[in-house]
Amino acid sequence: MNTSTSPGVIRRPLRRFLDYAVLSVLAFIFALPVLYLFMGSLKPSDEVLNGLSGFLPTHLSFDNYTAVLDSLNSDSTGYIWRFMGISLLLAFVVVTGGLFVNSMAAYGLSRLKWRGREAVFTLVLLLMLVPFESVAVPLFYMFNGQRNTLFIQAIPFIANAFSIYQFHTFFRSIPPSIEEAARLDGAGPWRTFFAIIVPMSKPAFASVAILTFLTQWGSFLWPVLMVSDPSVRPLPLEMSVFQGQLPPDWGQILAFGVLLVLPVLIVFAFFQRWFVQGVASSAVKG
């Protein structure tokens, strides 16, 4: 990864210092909104929207967090653990289900030879052109009877043309000799796939999993259309409901925001390398 070239690095130590200075200033400006989120979530509400002192670390406490957990813990407002659980469950189903069916399809379309596979793959590529936004309205109309169910929040997103495409690209770079060896040992396509190809494709699985998780965790348009009942409401939708309350309690709203982003930040921290590689490799060759 690190084959970067910066001319003159050895010659000019001053330049190195300047690089750090410029980067630090930029990074600070860039990180301000995130800092504001975390700082504000620890401050009393009347101090969040209080000019520049919103950044000052005075009166820090976890009161907002306990308050959010308390206030979102009744029949009338809903239960925060429930929102969290719904989002986690949906993400789990969409990610694992997606990894399973999309990788399998990509294998069938890239490594097995059969009549019609080109046609099927072309169909997948064509469907990849259709952004979800442009089918949201008819889907909403088609499944109007299934509103406020968990089922309708997850099922449409398991099969994903872009994931198939990413797996397809990865599988085609695997040398065929590996499968030939497996076949000589008597393994059929299924066994070859699950016992040999899947274990050696961890980077592809990791990057597809992370992209799917991110998209699903932040998913907003579809819940806006399909979910009105708090008992099946995922976190981002609840976030937008919660921030619309009057009068707004900013400390609590930001604490809620931290609860919304923390799971992704944790996932990101652990799998960063795969994520960045995945994004980069899916695009750079283009």
């Binding site: 084959t3 970067s4 469907l127 998209t215 348009l221 619309g244 980069a280 060759k285």
Partner: protein, 335 residues
């Protein structure tokens, strides 16, 4: 990306050019033996069936349905049966004064958004990528910092920026301006004023999405052979000349790809507009986008036929952009 997308980024959408990577994947796949072929047919079909049928059911069919619905007058919850409408929905979208006003405004807003965001975000991402393409200690930390907003859900990004841009004198931006101007500026309604509403959406979208483009460009920069820079150094090329004659040609393809990707993603902007209009005092007229228009038409006005027509127009624009992307990207691929 805006989503960004990638946040939404948007997070990364499914419109990356399919042509892109297939070019590099040519290894031999001729392994099947004659005896196997029959069974491979069955296995291949069985393996791809679940995902492909899912795609047909939840992408293909609804898309066809959108086209059909757009020719009808369908209203959700109306006692009247849907009636055939021909091209009436489209005619109304573009010529009926009551309907075409908001719709054309939304199209114009989308266009403004794209025209500003694409060069701004791509340029910023390139500058960041070049800055971060160094061998410095802690460079990984810097890269993660700039990338971090990409993982933030747009619904949350909208809320954070709602506070930063708050109209009272206590809003973050307003009080900063108040401080630097010795009290001459302050208390401006950034989201609510029609002159700055779209600019506000642009700023928060670029903030969230630029890291995504940056990572792609960074990977592109790292594929430029170091010898090219060494040769340029020997020729006493200045930093600017190296940028012009080594860096830019080296990442031309990636740069075009990123710009096109951003333009497609920028047409899909929705989450932040919806959150801020519904609960954040954002000027609705100045910030409505095509997707916002489709959702409010379907959902608030129960007008499915009209919304489907908007959806179809939206799709045509995105496909045109994607196809343009594929055409432009291909020739750049060779270097």
């Amino acid at each position: 990306m805006t989503s960004v997308e990638p946040a939404h980024a948007a997070p990364p959408g499914p419109e990356q050019a399919p042509s892109a990577t297939t070019v590099t994947t040519a290894p031999l796949t001729r392994s099947a033996r004659p005896g196997r072929k029959n069974r491979d047919w069955l296995h291949g079909l069985l393996m791809s069936a679940p995902a492909v049928s899912g795609l047909i059911a939840f992408v293909g069919v609804p898309f066809g349905y959108a086209v059909v619905l757009s020719f009808y007058n369908v209203r959700l919850g109306s006692p009247l049966a849907p009636s055939f409408f021909g091209l009436e929905q489209y005619r109304r979208l573009f010529t009926d004064p009551d309907l075409s006003g908001p719709f054309l405004r939304a199209l114009l807003n989308n266009l403004t958004f794209a025209v500003v965001v694409v060069p701004l975000q791509t340029g910023l991402a390139l500058a960041l990528a070049i800055l971060l393409n160094r061998k410095l200690k802690a460079i990984g930390l810097f890269r993660s910092l700039f990338f971090m907003p990409v993982v933030f859900p747009m619904a949350l990004v909208a809320v954070i920026w709602r506070l930063i841009l708050a109209r009272s004198g206590q809003g973050m931006l307003n009080s900063a301006l108040h401080a630097v101007s010795f009290g001459n500026w302050g208390a401006f309604d950034w989201l609510g004023d029609s002159a700055t509403a779209m600019a506000s959406i642009i700023v928060l979208s670029v903030w969230q999405g630029v890291g995504f483009q940056m990572v792609i460009l960074l990977a592109g920069l790292q594929q430029i052979p170091g010898e090219l820079y060494e040769a340029a150094e020997l020729d006493r090329a200045s930093r600017w000349q190296q940028f012009r004659h080594v860096t830019l040609p080296g990442i031309r393809g990636t740069l075009v790809f990123v710009a096109m990707l951003t333009s497609v993603l920028s047409f899909r902007v929705f989450d932040q507009v919806y959150v801020l209009v519904k609960g954040g005092g954002l000027d609705e007229d100045a910030a409505r986008t095509v997707m916002y228009q489709a959702v409010t038409t379907a959902f608030d006005q129960n007008n499915i036929g009209q919304a489907s027509a908007i959806t179809v127009v939206f799709f045509l624009i995105v496909v045109a952009l994607t196809l343009l992307q594929r055409r432009v990207v291909r020739p750049g691929n060779e270097d």
